[in-house]
Symmetry: C2
Subunit: 435 residues, 2 copies
């Protein structure tokens, strides 16, 4: 084993050991730790800003783009946000120990299902240093040990923030080693083999990266995968509303997974298409339309390019949208289920029947009516924050907050009860729901 | 592509297509289909028994063991059981569409989380033909399309039962192709690659087999893995109760995953150890004990062999038990978390503090007090039946019934709501819990 491997295994083993005590810890201790981290972040602000300045200088020297620089910056505003987030988490109900089910199996034999932490979680995230604090906070609140790996560009910032997370929380009574920091891609590769110590990997990043993790991990992975989100404009709809929703879904923040990539339009919703096309063009969006939509848009003087089949599978993450004409809500649904990424899809319609069909048949984590796909987010859903957005269907789906970081266990309390008594007919199950 | 591959892909694609309609199907249709399957099984009993006779003859010719023959037999008793099971499922509440969460995000913008089927599930199960009907019924009730693969020994029985499952359900209105049958191991290998069509694999079988599936699948796997279950006899306990619980946990059905493999005994619970040792020996159980337990048992005239470290990691599935002495409940917990399989572990104790610690710190799907580990089962838990027992912590944990076969989706209903209004301060989130 190399030094790196030995260090990583030691960190993972320490996290595993800490995870048991953490799972049994009082909510008061975890909440006090969250507040202590917020206080220490504020107390050590200068140290953190200095570390961040190093990362910013290095990034500038490498000539990174303006949006990347913006994401990388950790300033007073970001500090205020993450501290407010930690304090809000501390005030939230404890997700651990919540009774989910209680059944009397037989006289004097009671089954209770209670929420418990997953155990040890490995999270790989992008270059925003504030993400480290948010993810660390969510794991702490939900009683999970965590191994964190941030973006290479944020190396110094992450080290400074992590030191505070760990020191403040351990001083507040959290078990030593509950949080670990990885700094290299090689460590991530090694981590994927440690199924003995780690229960779940949450990768955030490009689709290719998430796919790589999934294909190379013997540990379960909940992917923050790509987002090919759709807005479908139905035949019967408010045209101005349709345009407003599409513009928000495409342009409010185009670089994220819940932005709209394809607009589907009913063949008879020509006015809505023209309205949406004009509004998108006014925002500087390039439109790639199929033949029928192109004819409608061109007829109304809206510039657009032709779309090819590859467009339906493309996540632009940019001021580009593809437009396809469909002849029915069923055709829109079939397109979404075939080409979409099961993230978030919205219908704009006044037809209750069409909406009902869309809700029942679209196989996505988020299915919306008359609103923008951009609402798909843990904060907006009221979860406080999110560790990722899951586009699979196992465990958590959609924005993953505290609940997604929980598992459960069954507690059975008896008085010497044995199965033989039931198998041989001396006793019978009652299965009485107590909750 | 070989013929086999083409057939398998066609079946998987058909299941995927059917899954959308199935997810949107009325509970009435699914329940009627369950009843129709039960009726047709009874009507075609002779045909089914004849198919089963072929399998039994072949198995006898191969000289399989008596327990295997017993599991393979599908007779009037088994028919009665599976039909009763299907009718009980039909009477159960619909797991689909259940509202799990409802929040007003802002005035006129409502988020609802509803249960929905996972989609397409692949289940690989052992040689009991009745398992095919149980698993098919659970998938049908929960609106999941399913690809089934049973044991090689039950080939003819499975074909006959599957024909009824499919014909009766499709005649009752289920979408064509919702259920598919695989018959070879090669098909299972191919299935593991079809992540485009299949959402979840549930393998039941030996530990090595489940591990093989996990390591070779790009599809999420919920493992029905091995069971190294423990009974821990604490210092303060009712000795007769301790013996009774251990005997049931070990001998009521030793060949299953929830049977006890290791007995942990507090060093000061010598009387309980002797009581348990005598009772186990009387049932013909071979005892493999550590030095300290061996001395106690030998002193009381109970025969036993020595245990080696390998015993703590061994699933005997037989009339053999390992015994280890511990000096505290903490040591028992540490042993269980290290050597156990996170399946089901029980403490026999009168000490409330020790029980509380055991419940909080044992990291298993089932944590029991004063009762046998053999209760870990979907039927006994009141779930009707189970598709498997999950020993991981993601998604379902423990016996997996209808709920484990469900995912959820978020429905968001608005009136033209856009994120820009919130980002730019014109509107604010209310996050009012409506449920």
């Amino acid at each position: 084993m190399s030094d790196m491997e030995m260090k990583l295994v030691a960190a993972a083993r320490a996290a595993r050991e800490a995870s048991y005590a953490l799972a049994a810890s009082d909510a008061d201790v975890r909440n006090a730790a969250l507040l202590a981290v917020a206080d220490m972040l504020e107390a050590r602000r200068e140290e953190i800003f200095a570390a961040n300045a190093k990362d910013i200088d290095a990034a500038k020297a490498e000539g990174v783009s303006a949006p990347t620089l913006k994401r990388l910056r950790f300033d007073e505003g970001k500090l205020r946000d993450v501290c407010a987030g930690l304090r809000a988490l501390a005030a939230m109900d404890d997700p651990i120990g919540r009774v989910q089910l209680k059944t009397e199996l037989a006289d004097g034999l009671t089954l209770t299902r209670v929420a418990c932490p997953i155990g040890v979680v490995g999270v790989i995230f992008e270059s925003r240093p504030d993400a480290l604090v948010q993810i660390g906070g969510l794991c702490l609140k939900s009683g999970n040990a965590v191994l964190l790996k941030g973006g290479r560009e944020a190396l110094h910032s992450n080290a400074a923030l992590f030191a505070v997370l760990r020191e403040a929380s351990e001083a507040a009574g959290l078990p030593a080693g509950w949080a670990g920091l990885m700094t290299t891609r090689e460590e991530v590769g090694e981590m994927l083999k440690l199924d003995r110590y780690i229960d779940l990997i949450i990768p955030r990043g490009s689709n290719a990266f998430v796919r790589y993790i999934m294909e190379n991990s013997s540990i379960p992975v909940l992917g923050h995968s790509d987002g090919i989100c759709h807005v479908y404009i139905d035949r019967d709809c408010d045209e101005l509303m349709a345009a407003k929703v599409v513009v928000d879904a495409k342009t409010q923040y185009p670089a994220v997974c819940n932005a709209c990539e394809t607009l589907l339009v009913h063949a008879q919703a020509k006015d809505a298409l023209v309205e949406a096309g004009r509004a998108l063009a006014a925002k500087g969006v390039t439109i790639r339309a199929d033949e029928r939509a192109k004819a409608v848009l061109a007829g109304a003087g809206v510039a657009c390019e032709g779309a090819s089949d590859a467009d339906w599978e493309t996540e632009y993450l940019d001021y580009i949208i593809s437009v396809r004409t469909v002849d029915s809500v069923e055709e829109a649904i079939a397109h979404i289920n075939r080409f979409g990424s099961h993230h978030t899809d919205s219908i704009v319609s006044d037809d209750e029947k069409a909406v009902k069909k869309f809700f029942a048949l679209v196989d996505s984590a988020g299915v919306y009516h008359n609103c923008s796909t951009r609402f798909a987010d843990g904060f907006r859903y009221g979860f406080g924050a999110e560790v990722g957005v899951a586009t699979g269907k196992i465990h958590a789906r959609g924005p993953m907050g505290l609940e997604g970081l929980c598992s459960y266990k069954y507690l059975l309390e008896g008085h010497g009860d044995i199965v033989a008594d039931f198998a041989e007919g001396r006793r019978t199950f009652t299965h009485k729901k107590l909750l």
